[in-house]
Amino acid sequence: MLNHLTANIRIFFEGAYYSYRALFRWLRPATYLASKVFAPLTMMIFFVYIGAYASGSNNASFYVIGNSLIFAASSGIFGVTMSVGGERWSGTLPYLFGSPANRWAMFVGRAVMHILDGMLGVFIGLGWGILLFGLDFSHTDPMALLLAILITTFSTSGLGLLMGCLSLITRNVMLVNNTVYFSLLVFSGANIPVAELPRWMQSISQMLPLTRGVACTRTIINGGSLADVLPLLQVEFLIGVMLTILGYFLFKVFEIQAKKKGTLDIF
């Protein structure tokens, strides 16, 4: 029993490590810098200035924080989806499903590296905020900030796992991903205050991951304590857990579906 548990923990972490290296090794230093450092910078500048132009106020920190967390969502959604979809493209999906490996360890483990990567993305975004827009951390509790970023990245990775399992039944998962990603740009409060949205859109915002994470991170950076944001963070965490569990069950359902339809190795 204990041996099996140890073996599953090994699959969880080795799977995370090897699948990341196998499927994301194209991210060499130059491509990593371009996609994870400079592309987010241009996006951040875009939203800071368009936000200032549209609202007439100069509240750069609102957009810097919002977009830094969008980078986490990008890593969570696209990265995690590709970590499942990439198996289809490399033709390794039948070999994974033909193995006796525990599906939970194999599936959920894939999110680990992307959570770390997403957190790094948030730090890079906030770093640009300090350098270019004078983002002020003088009143920030660093541990509370770290926790908020970790939980937000986890919850968006949960959404990535949910999207990723769609790769088992369709080749065109990236179309769905793009829609989900742009929905987060609109609904999460990263660029438009949730309170400014029409009521029906606000209801959608409250159901999504990221919304509460963005709000918590803003509060913490502006001097709020962990206690102030804890209820919201708990819900954000819960959303992440629910998405992960739902993703796992769909993964199991779609595995059976793919075996019934014979779509496992179509690429």
Binding site: G15, Y18, W26, S90, T92, Y95, F97, P100, G262, D265
Partner: protein, 324 residues
């Protein structure tokens, strides 16, 4: 106990077409297939492209759910006991996909060892042994993207053997390999059989099945059309002689005319560059040549020979003549 039993296995694929009026199309890939494979036997599943070989292997390796019939591996049902079947089998599919190209050969093996719950100590010992066996020792730290096709195929074999499975499925393992690579791989397969593994090998290369397999099932259009030892299969055509005629540009009408001759049992046409080779199976032997030449009047003919039938001729006769 048989290592593999297959009882009336069926697989129908459904596909839909159209946006508003969706048409459902059904393709029968495997139909009423039954056979048994003894423990330690090297069994060949031989058939042309699209005959149902890979579909059969996918069902036996738990990757595809049959639409009818049952199959067991070491007494375990491939659908109901799929989780118990997986640790006991190893499989490879032909072609180059299915490996992580950006990882080294060694990392590929390490990762799959963990997926198969191979103890770390055991893996450390077994991986170098397997690398040695498949001739990749010294190249294991290179990325798979730099491997030749043959090396990738041999890495696949090492991967399939990591957990020391009792039953192996090799689906066209020599597909696309150069002759030297294919020969090396066949030697590896022979070695695996001497290690008392039960092996199901699919191929459309006759000589490969003849050289390796103890028994062969010939599958065509989803159905088993013959099942026997290579020798017995050859016996089916031993009363015949094969007349081979090299020619240029034979038409379907002319083939039909040859087929209709009363002393002709079967005809197949093989393309060789610009030439074609007509294989005519006949009990008449060399005496058939003048009549055949007369019926090919007007065509440019090359070399004409007669020979003893081979397993390939038996196979061609079983799966139908004019397929190349």
């Amino acid at each position: 106990m048989d290592a593999i039993t297959v009882n009336h296995l069926n697989r129908v694929f459904k596909s839909t077409d159209g946006i508003i009026k969706r048409k459902v199309k059904e393709v029968v890939a495997v139909e009423d297939v039954s056979f048994e494979i003894r423990q330690g036997e090297l069994f060949g599943l031989l058939g042309p492209n699209g005959a149902g070989k890979t579909t059969s292997v996918k069902m036996l390796t738990t990757l595809l759910i049959p639409t009818g019939g049952t199959a067991t591996i070491m007494g375990l049902d491939v659908v109901k006991d799929a989780a118990k079947v997986r640790p006991r089998i190893g499989f490879i599919f032909g072609g180059e996909r299915g490996l992580y190209w950006r990882l080294s050969g060694l990392d590929n093996l390490r990762y799959f060892a963990s997926l198969y719950y191979v103890d770390e100590k055991v893996a450390k010992k077994r991986i170098p042994e397997l690398l040695e066996m498949v001739g990749l020792k010294g190249r294991e730290r290179e990325k798979v993207e730099g491997y030749s096709r043959g090396m990738r195929q041999r890495l696949h074999i090492a991967r399939a053997l990591l957990h020391d499975p009792e039953v192996l499925f090799l689906d066209e393992p020599t597909m696309g390999l150069d002759p030297v690579g294919a020969r090396e791989l066949r030697t590896t397969v022979k070695n695996m059989q001497s290690a008392n593994k039960t092996i199901l090998l699919t191929t459309h290369y006759m000589f490969e099945a003849d050289a390796l397999c103890q028994r062969i099932a010939v599958i065509n259009k989803g159905k088993i059309v013959a099942l026997d030892t290579p020798e017995k299969l050859k016996e089916n055509v031993q009363d015949l002689t094969v007349v081979e005629i090299e020619l240029y540009g034979i038409s379907q009408d002319r083939i039909a005319r040859i087929k209709a001759l009363d002393f002709v049992v079967d005809v197949s046409v093989e393309d060789r560059d610009q030439r074609q080779v007509l294989h005519v199976h006949t009990p008449k032997g060399p005496e058939a040549i003048p009549v055949l030449v007369e019926n090919l009047n007007g065509l440019r003919l090359g070399r004409i020979i007669t020979r003893e039938p081979t397993l390939e001729d038996a196979y061609v006769r079983l799966v139908g003549g004019t397929e190349n």
